[in-house]
């Protein structure tokens, strides 16, 4: 699974990417290389194009220009090494499947065309559910789970894939404390295993605590790099404009953190 370490084989390289919905550019000229083995937060205001960035990287929305490489190759060639956790609200949770069925979907590629999900794969899916503390809920229909539990099921599906690069869209949105702790625990496990996670994150307070690297995005790339150097109140102001009350708090907190 290991790839030779030259700059081109970074988990995710985005070159001069512009994406537009119906002639209106949503993000433009994004140029970013994600470092291997790090937890990366994508931070920015609403409508900044955070989800679009991830979807474009995954070839889910067409690019106007630019190029994306995953481990040095086009996405299609490396799809099996990438796990995507979509926004929870993107699917119909009334769908007639159980938590175990959803987790097993992460194995479908491995199972391959036409073959049914056999006992062996069900066990694998159950193990993935167990990692996020959802093994007891395996048989529940997904509409009977709480928001946080649904999010953990989504995470289990991605874990079942055993990928090298994880792209997650707002996994911390509207979840309870246990789920938040579970997700952060899993993220650290992934990092310790040398994997990379790129996570759209909305909470400025927790971002420096949870992540190593940050991408500040507001339709264009404002700044990216290690949390300590990039997550400054100056950069945040350039991302959010002057209208963010939390800004000074965060700035103070970062200053305090660096001082001690």
């Amino acid at each position: 699974m290991s790839t030779p370490q030259h700059p081109d084989s970074a988990p995710l390289c985005i070159h001069d990417m512009t994406v537009a919905y119906r002639r209106r550019p949503v993000i433009w000229d994004i140029d970013y290389d994600a470092p291997a083995g790090k937890l990366v937060a994508i931070v920015g205001p609403n409508g900044a194009g955070k989800s679009t960035l991830i979807k474009a990287a995954l070839d889910l929305v067409p690019k106007i220009s630019g190029e994306v490489r995953v481990f040095g190759e086009p996405y299609r060639a490396q799809a099996s090494r990438v796990a995507y956790v979509p926004q929870r609200s993107s699917v119909d949770w009334d769908f007639p499947v159980s938590a175990l069925d959803v987790a097993a979907m992460g194995l479908y590629r491995k199972i391959g065309w036409f073959r049914p999900v056999t006992r062996r794969y069900k066990e694998e899916a159950r193990a993935a559910l167990d990692r996020v503390g959802m093994a007891d809920y395996a048989k529940r229909q997904i509409s009977q789970l709480s928001g946080g539990q649904q999010q953990r099921v989504f995470l289990a599906r991605a874990l079942a894939q055993n990928a090298d690069l994880y792209l997650m869209d707002e996994p911390f949105a509207g979840v309870d404390a246990t789920t938040e702790r579970t997700i952060i625990g899993i993220l650290r496990e992934l990092r310790d295993a040398g994997k990379t996670a790129i996570v759209v994150h909305h909470d400025l307070q927790t971002a420096p605590e949870y992540f190593d690297e940050v991408v500040l995005l507001n339709m264009r790339l404002v700044a990216s790099g290690p949390m300590e150097t990039v997550f400054t109140s100056e950069n945040l102001r350039r991302t959010y404009g002057g209208k963010l009350p939390l800004l000074d708090q965060v700035g103070n907190r970062m200053a305090g953190g660096q001082g001690s």
């Binding site: 119906r22 979807k55 995954l58 070839d59 889910l60 299609r76 799809a79 099996s80 990438v82 995507y84 979509p86 993107s90 699917v91 119909d92 769908f95 007639p96 499947v97 159980s98 069925d101 959803v102 979907m105 479908y108 590629r109 199972i111 065309w113 036409f114 073959r115 049914p116 999900v117 229909q141 509409s143 709480s146 928001g147 946080g148 599906r157 894939q161 509207g174 979840v175 309870d176 404390a177 246990t178």
Partner: protein
């Protein structure tokens, strides 16, 4: 009544109602009851047997494929395909007439025309939706009416062709099993079975695309091709159903069984099996009924049989059916009423023993403190008769026992009261403490808070509750 028993019970009732309804109708429509009934039901007729087999298989595969169409939220695409097939039939007829007059009613060629124009209609809907801001419902309405209009216009042209034996073309709109011949039906049956096989073999792939299209695409599944194949299956069902159910009603063969099955199960596999059974049953009964009364259009009867099964499912379905939902909401109402009553009793006793601050009543205090009606009525805004009713049912369930014009808690009642109060107070605290995520999680009616919240959260809440009860927070105006 447990769920398993409810299931058996309602299944029996549903079957009895179904058989009753079908035999009544059968007896009504049959001109000379005994002989025709025997001939049809005994399947003496080779043609009837084959036609029955064909439509049943069509019903089964329609039900199965319909599950995916329904879950993909594309129910009406089948209607578009059905209506769009009409101009194809007319054009195929006219072209054959031009090339070799008098041979226009060549079934395979007509079906080919229907397939092509049906597919064209479905593709147009997809293209319009993807490439413009018109929503899919509007796109479907545009395509459906355009194609049907065109088809109707062409049919008028067909009727003016002098050599044409065009009489049968209109039968494709509403179906006519009588016009089916065994030789054709064998082919249809085999084709239906093939469609069924494709749907079964690709079960996993189709359900993934239906559930989470973006994820499927990110995993490298060819979502477009799978969508295309699903549409092709729908077109296939439409064409096969053209002669028996008719183009205008074929949507029912796909969507009614699947919608009915949703009332019975939360599991897509089981739902698919049930949809297949319902589809097959509806098609079989419909075919038999229309064979009994030759003036009944087969398509209409098959659809109405499906509707009958749909209504039964809506009523009796043990996941979402009205009766079960009603039973459950009644049960919840009773449970909440019982909890309200016991909590009120507990709080009265609690306040009697509180001296300035909150005190957790001991078991002995709970068991030996009679509470009267006036005290209970004063605890909440509920009517006297409501309280009396609640007391009666609590006595019936031996949670309370009468005691000199008042009522005492039994040991079970005391335990339940303690639990209800604890649950209630923990939920209240939860709402305050975790206001941001609470609304999606709070299930006040849940029997125990433990069933919903994690142990860790509950420990935290209990700790807070204890501090409150220890009197650190003012609990009464006398403080």
């Amino acid at each position: 009544m447990s769920r398993a028993w409810y299931f058996r019970f309602t299944l029996c009732i549903a079957c009895i109602l179904w058989i009753g309804a079908v035999t009544t109708v059968a007896a009504d429509v049959t001109p000379s009851p005994s002989s025709t009934l025997q001939r049809v039901l005994g399947l003496r007729d080779y043609n009837t047997r084959v036609v029955l087999l064909g439509t049943t298989l069509l019903g089964i595969s329609g039900g199965v494929i319909g599950v995916f169409t329904l879950l993909r939220k594309r129910s009406l695409i089948a209607d578009v395909v059905g209506h769009s097939a009409l101009p194809g039939i007319a054009i195929a007829f006219l072209l054959t007439e031009i090339i070799r007059p008098g041979t226009g009613k060549n079934v395979p060629l007509l079906m080919l025309g229907a397939t092509l124009s049906g597919l064209l209609g479905a593709v147009l809907v997809l293209l319009i939706t993807r490439s413009s801001r018109i929503r899919s419902d509007a796109a479907m309405a545009v395509v459906l009416s355009t194609f049907y209009g065109l088809g109707t216009a062409l049919l008028t042209v067909v009727q003016h062709v002098p050599t044409a034996s065009a009489a049968g073309l209109k039968d494709y709109l509403n179906g006519k099993t009588a016009s089916l011949v065994a030789g054709d039906v064998w082919i249809f049956a085999i084709a239906s079975a093939c469609l069924l096989c494709i749907a079964t073999v690709l079960f996993k792939e189709f359900s993934l695309v239906c559930f989470d299209e973006d994820y499927a695409a990110s995993e490298g599944w060819p979502v477009w091709s799978l969508d295309g194949l699903l549409t092709a299956l729908v077109v296939g069902i439409t064409i096969l159903g053209m002669q028996s159910v008719g183009l205008l009603l074929v949507v029912a063969v796909l969507i009614i069984p699947a919608s009915a099955a949703r009332f019975w199960s939360h599991d897509i596999r089981r739902m698919t099996v049930i949809a297949g059974i319902i589809g097959g049953l509806a098609a079989a009964t419909g075919t038999i009924l229309s064979a009994l009364g030759p003036r009944l259009a087969a398509g209409a009867v098959i659809v109405l049989c499906g509707t009958g099964l749909f209504l039964l499912s809506m009523l009796f379905g043990w996941r979402r059916g009205w009766i079960w939902t009603w039973v459950e909401s009644r049960r919840m109402q009773r449970r909440i009423g019982r909890h309200d009553l016991l909590r009120a009793t507990y709080e009265i006793i609690e306040s009697q023993h509180a001296e300035g601050r909150r005190h957790v009543p001991t078991d002995a205090e709970l068991l030996n403190a009679p509470v009267d009606l006036n005290q209970l009525v004063g605890m909440r805004t509920w009517s006297r008769s409501r309280v009396q009713h609640l007391i009666r049912s609590a006595c019936h369930e031996s949670l309370l026992i009468p005691h000199r014009g008042a009522w005492r808690l039994t040991p079970e009642g005391a335990a339940l009261a303690r639990r209800a109060v604890r649950n209630h107070r923990l939920w209240e605290l939860y709402l305050i403490t975790f206001a941001d995520v609470a609304p999606s999680r709070v299930d006040r009616a849940a029997d125990r808070i433990e069933h919903v919240l994690e142990p860790e959260t509950i420990r935290l809440l209990e700790l807070r509750l204890e501090t409150q009860q220890a009197g650190l927070m003012p609990t009464s105006p006398h403080d």
